[in-house]
């Protein structure tokens, strides 16, 4: 069984540019999470989807961040425009409804110059 797939693995951009991250969860997992992990810290939740519905986006900086999961499967997280402080690893995870274990992807390391 394939795990959570994320792309790209690395992204380097200049500040004020847009950037997008893609995530494909494990087949059959209806819950999808996006986390941000700053250097030397644990991941922090940005947004959680149940199927195509964003049920928790309270920690998503909505002025510059957006996310979508149009068909309830794969998801895209976008930043526009990027700022220096957005440099971090962006992790995607998925789980099956009713189960607590979250399966993580390898993450995208974003560097904003």
């Amino acid at each position: 069984e394939a795990g959570v797939v994320q792309s790209p693995r690395y992204k380097i951009i200049e500040k004020k540019q847009p950037v997008a991250f893609w995530c494909n969860p494990i087949s059959g997992h209806n819950t999808l999470y996006w986390y941000r992990q700053n250097l030397g810290q644990g991941p922090e939740l940005l947004i959680r989807y149940e199927n195509e519905e964003a049920v928790d986006d309270s920690q998503l900086p909505k002025d510059r961040f957006s996310a979508e999961r149009l068909k309830g499967v794969d998801s895209t997280l976008k930043i526009q425009p990027a700022e220096l402080g957005d440099s971090a690893v962006y992790l995607c995870a998925s789980s099956f409804r009713g189960y607590n274990e979250q399966f993580f992807g390898p993450g995208t390391r974003l560097t904003v110059l």
Partner: protein
């Protein structure tokens, strides 16, 4: 709000020895789950072990075991017979026990991590 504290930023252990990683948490909840995740340099976060707060018996997974002290809000991870492949960042995490569609309640709250190095 829940907080998770890992007071050991770095630890090292000799191969084949035993090491214990500490974690404390703060919550007013009675039902919850606790996890230890491993994150090697590849960045893939891997679940090591899980503990349900209502269970008094400490969870065990092969060489990994926990010491769960609910009253003290302590959740330490013991790694026996350490192997070079155990070198990684280890994160302790907390999750409230709620119905699946509840809002932010299903999020994981992570500690800041402990970098474990197994020495040959």
């Amino acid at each position: 709000a829940q907080t998770v504290t890992q007071s050991q930023p770095e630890m090292s252990v000799q191969e084949a020895e035993t090491v214990t990683l500490s974690c404390t948490y703060d919550t007013s909840e009675n039902n919850y789950y606790l996890f230890w995740y491993k994150q090697p340099p590849s960045r893939q976060m891997i679940l090591v072990i899980r503990q349900e707060a209502y269970k008094q018996q400490n969870a065990t997974e092969n060489r990994f075991s926990v010491n769960f002290q609910k009253a003290a809000k302590s959740f330490s991870l013991k790694i026996s017979d350490s192997q070079l492949g155990d070198t990684a960042m280890y994160f302790c995490a907390f999750m409230k026990h709620v119905m699946p569609r509840a809002g932010s309640a299903r999020q994981l709250t992570f500690g800041s991590g402990t970098q474990l190095t197994v020495l040959p």
